[in-house]
């Protein structure tokens, strides 16, 4: 990219993403990983790091990590191991974090993101590695009213995280956001993680610097690692801001990567600025060494093959299939897939039953999702089953009644929990025989000869008034059918 008033600049971004794996229990003990429990209620001697307590690995976390790794095209080496990363902090009760140093569980993958300059060939972002580690606790510093209380909640301590480290292949804030969206889509789709930034089940650190082309000489600005971003939007904004800041700082000081070590910067969302957190990345020496309390983990090829076989369709493949199989647009397929696997299943069941993919897709995106959002529900808890929705829409497709009438049925089903058939019955909706419709139309035309004249003079919309009257006389009369019948009868006049 080129800044409007400066030298041509290339932005270099690498992301470190922590996703919390969706296990019931922690990585090395049986404590629950549920979010939001009262402080220090989900702890035991192991995650508290009490003397004598020992970690025992959670196999499910290994399965999820393999699944995640395969989803981002990583290889899963036959052996991985646990290492201790050592530092002192009050939310780290053992004084070390159990992590993976030189033999991560996933290595050397990639993720594809849209390519604006060449839409046919997506951009491939390299992934260096993904490794498992236990989360630390949470420190809450209460400095209000002159107090300097620090409170520690160790509920989160020992929760399994997968740290996914990208190559510095991203070139803009937008690409960073695309990468995160794609990553989140895959992780949520495969049930690996909830990826809720607000709840901390997805955390992003961004390493950013600029390559400035000064008359053919490449100048690199010092690298900054940006932390504390709590939404994808914030990641995008923080990187945008950092690009400008680094350019300005370089113009002002002339400092390059050779003059200044990596710094850590926080993101202030309200001010829209990054701020210096740590002056110089003290070359932290974590003194990694293999954790003697845990055995190396052997992952036989069969286990990886099995995981691969159980992986199912990745989101992009799924979108393509939905498009083809149900005749919906890519945009619509994306919206449905983005809602997660359960909604995809709901859609497929309903669309098959209704025989009308497009209609089903639009009903789900509008009526169903609106309702879910209002009630803060997941599709699993939705009162109308996919089959029932399919039934309803199948009737619309057949022309039994129109969308408006169908919405009444939908609301009734939602209120009462009745099936489509029951709801139709209790609303007194029945298909009206075409001879009855014809009779009704004749009566209306006889009473309103002016309409016949108007239509014959080219004012087709004149029948509209009669359609309204027909509905009043018989609520079940299908407006489309009434209209067609009226026009047919007028022709015959």
């Amino acid at each position: 990219m080129t800044l409007s008033d400066g030298y041509p600049t290339e932005t270099i971004i690498g992301l470190e993403v922590h996703v919390q794996l969706k296990t019931q229990t922690k990585l090395f003990c049986g404590c629950s990983t549920r979010f939001g429990a009262p402080p220090n209620t989900q702890v035991c001697p192991v995650c508290l790091g009490l003397p004598g307590a020992l970690p025992v690995m959670n196999e499910h976390a290994i399965d999820l990590a393999i699944r995640a790794g395969l989803a981002i095209d990583c290889s899963i080496p036959p052996m991985t191991k646990w290492d201790r990363k050592q530092y002192f902090y009050p939310d780290l009760p053992k004084g070390y974090q159990i992590s993976q140093f030189d033999l991560p569980i996933c290595a050397d993958g990639f993720l594809e993101i849209p390519n604006e300059s060449a839409p046919e060939t997506p951009r491939r972002i390299g992934i260096i590695r993904a490794h498992l580690e236990e989360d630390a606790g949470k420190s809450m510093h209460d400095e209000a009213a002159g107090r300097h209380d620090s409170r520690i909640d160790l509920n989160r301590c020992g929760t399994p995280l997968l740290e996914i480290v990208s190559h510095p292949d991203l070139r803009s804030a937008k690409e960073a956001k695309d990468y995160l969206n794609e990553l989140k889509l895959r992780m949520t789709h495969l049930g690996v993680s909830d990826c809720e930034m607000q709840e901390g089940s997805l955390r992003v650190d961004a390493n950013v610097n600029l390559h400035i082309d000064v008359n053919g000489n490449k100048v690199a600005t010092p690298i900054a690692e940006i932390k504390n971003m709590n939404s994808f939007r914030a990641v995008e904004n923080a990187i945008e801001h950092e690009i400008d800041r680094q350019y300005d700082a370089w113009e002002e000081t002339g400092k390059t990567i050779k003059d200044e070590a990596k710094t850590t910067r926080g993101w202030d969302d309200t001010k829209g600025k990054t701020f210096l957190q740590r002056e110089k990345e003290e070359s932290a020496d974590y003194r990694y060494f293999p954790d003697p309390d845990l055995l190396p983990v052997r992952i036989p090829k069969e286990r990886v093959d099995q995981a691969r076989a159980n992986l199912g369709e990745l989101p992009a493949e799924l979108c393509q299939r939905l498009q083809k199989q149900y005749g919906i647009k890519l945009y619509d397929a994306n919206v449905i897939v983005n809602q997660g696997r359960a909604l995809v299943e709901y859609f497929e069941t309903a669309a098959t039953r209704s025989g009308d993919g497009k209609r089903t897709s639009s009903w789900i995106q509008q009526d169903v999702m609106r309702n879910l959002n209002e009630k803060q529900l997941g599709i699993e808890d939705f009162r109308i089953s996919a089959d029932q929705l399919g039934d309803l829409l199948q009737r619309v497709r057949q022309g039994d009644f129109d969308n408006t009438r169908a919405r009444d049925v939908f609301s009734h089903m939602l209120e009462t929990g009745q099936s489509a058939e029951e709801a139709i019955k209790s609303l007194g909706i029945e298909a009206v025989d075409s001879s009855d419709i014809e009779l009704l139309c004749r009566e209306l035309l006889d009473a309103n000869p002016q309409v016949i004249e108007d239509v014959k003079n080219g004012k087709q919309q004149a029948v509209g008034a009669l359609i309204g009257q027909a509905k009043k006389k018989n609520a079940n009369a299908n407006p489309k059918q009434v209209r067609e019948t009226l026009l047919k009868l007028i022709q015959q006049c």
């Binding site: 001697p45 790091g49 004598g52 307590a53 060494f289």
Partner: protein, 496 residues
């Protein structure tokens, strides 16, 4: 009576003594010797008596009794007990009481043993003399001017002093075998993984192992049986079945058994003549019992101590990071203002809490270990030590393809005077010359009493066996004790 678990079991089953009587006499004996020997960091008369009462009650009601019913057992203060403090003989954990029992303590309770108290040790099991304890020095019942060895000095001295027939020690580099040797009792370090480490406060996780201490092989077999076995809470515990160890004691016919005598151990400088003689005499005993004795070499044995003193402190430096004063244990109460100013309150609290809570030897090892794991040094020290460890294991594999057991000394000298080595860490570390090999290789080893020297101090021999061959150690050990009376020698201070 208090020097034989077998006898205590027999007396109870014959109705000649109750668990309460036995426990009471054990407590009285502890109280009588505590001032001179100082083997215990904690005793709990009420708890012990009330668990003895339960055993007596069970017996009266004819309910099934555990294998150690009514037997007083002392537990090294590095094993977690939820009803007694667990201090590791450190000021850092002076007031620490864990909310759970160590796996081996649970097993003792299940076996109806009477857990009578916690025994003194070198601070965090770092030492070979029990002089680094924050709760005072433990003295050797054979000669109160000498150390009982360490780090399980309290655990062996309490047996030698006749307070209890059995105790649990831990062995990271010889901490059961060397003090057992110094105190004239029998001690066994099991195969790494044979006994669960859950609830054993870690010193060096890849080396630590809990083991039994008693007068006779017969008694320690009983305790080993009780504590062995796979346990899912310890990932390094082995899934192999536990054999019936008593079965190993039935024969003392060693014909067909090949015992290798360690050439290096006898050639090395600094080995006391009496120690060397003890080993040679024992070889004759084994020979007479039918065993074949051949000389064997472990070529990398000269690297045992240096390898050990890189790996053990490295792991210790990490394991002891948790004692930072933030969550439990000692926390500095009055920060030095200038430190608080320059380091900030958090780091100052860490530094001062650890400076106050740990003793000199612990600090020394934390520093050595931190250095050995540091960037730029790890390759030369820690990683290099891991390579050496593989070679050391390889030596044993070769040796055990030729012989069934290895015979050698436990320690270069008998018990040394209190104060002799405490200011000379290197001399102290050399106490581990013959014991750390078994820890580095993860194999089992036993220390057996082998008479006394001219000063009346106990001598000892060590047998080492391939992994999971505790049975072989017990078999040969029992045969040795059938042919000798060394395990029946008692210090002058002993009262039966």
């Amino acid at each position: 009576m208090l020097d034989s678990a077998q006898e205590i079991l027999k007396l109870q089953s014959q109705g000649e003594a109750t668990a309460v009587e036995i426990t009471t006499s054990a407590i009285e004996r502890i109280e009588a010797t505590q001032q001179s020997v100082n083997a215990f960091t904690h005793i709990n008369r009420e708890l012990a008596i009330s668990s003895a009462e339960k055993v007596d009650e069970k017996r009266r009601l004819g309910e099934p009794l555990g294998a150690l019913a009514g037997v007083p057992v002392a537990v090294k203060d590095v094993l977690c007990t939820q009803d007694m403090p667990t201090t590791c003989s450190s000021n850092m954990l002076r007031n620490f009481q864990p909310p759970y029992d160590a796996s081996v303590v649970e097993k003792l309770r299940k076996a109806d043993a009477i857990i009578i108290g916690k025994t003194n040790m070198d601070e965090f099991a770092m030492g070979a003399s029990t002089e680094t304890s924050a709760f005072g020095i433990t003295r050797n019942p054979w000669d109160l001017t000498r150390t009982p060895g360490g780090s399980s000095g309290g655990a062996t001295a309490c047996v030698a002093a006749g307070t209890v027939p059995l105790s649990l020690g831990t062995d990271t580099g010889g901490s059961i075998r060397q003090p057992a040797g110094f105190c004239g009792v029998t001690g066994l370090k099991p195969t790494y993984g044979r006994v669960s480490r859950y609830g054993l406060v870690a010193f060096a996780s890849s080396l630590d192992q809990v083991g039994p201490i008693g007068w006779s092989v017969e008694d320690i077999a009983l305790l080993l049986q009780c504590i062995s076995g796979y346990e899912p809470r310890d990932s390094t515990s082995l899934k192999h079945d536990v054999p019936d160890y008593r079965a190993a004691l039935e024969s003392s016919d060693l014909r067909g058994l090949k015992i290798g005598i360690l050439r290096e151990a006898l050639d090395v400088d600094g080995v006391d003549d009496a120690v060397r003689e003890g080993v040679m005499n024992s070889a004759k005993v084994f020979e007479q019992a039918g065993a074949e004795i051949i000389e064997i070499s472990l070529p990398h044995s000269k690297y045992w101590v240096p390898t050990y003193y890189v790996i053990a402190p490295s792991e210790a430096s990490s394991n002891l990071s948790r004692y930072d004063g933030a969550h439990y244990g000692h926390r500095a109460s009055d920060l030095q203002p200038e430190k608080a100013e320059s380091l900030g309150p958090l780091v100052a609290t860490y530094c001062q809490s650890r400076a106050e809570g740990f003793g000199a030897e612990v600090k020394r090892r934390i520093m050595v270990g931190t250095y050995a794991l540091s960037e730029g040094y790890a390759d030369q020290y820690y990683t290099q030590a891991l390579k050496a460890r593989r070679l050391i294991k390889g030596d044993y594999d070769v040796a055990f393809s030729q012989v069934d057991l290895l015979l050698g000394p436990v320690s270069p000298t008998p018990a040394f005077p209190i104060g002799e080595k405490i200011d000379d860490p290197l001399q102290m570390y050399l106490c581990d010359l013959f014991t750390v090999g078994a820890n580095l290789a993860g194999i089992p080893a036993i220390s057996l009493p082998a008479g006394t020297d001219h000063q009346g101090l106990p001598l000892a021999i060590q047998l080492q066996a391939p992994a999971l061959e505790e049975t072989r150690l017990l078999f040969a050990g029992a045969a040795y004790q059938a042919a000798t009376d060394f395990h029946k020698l008692r210090p002058d201070t002993f009262e039966s």
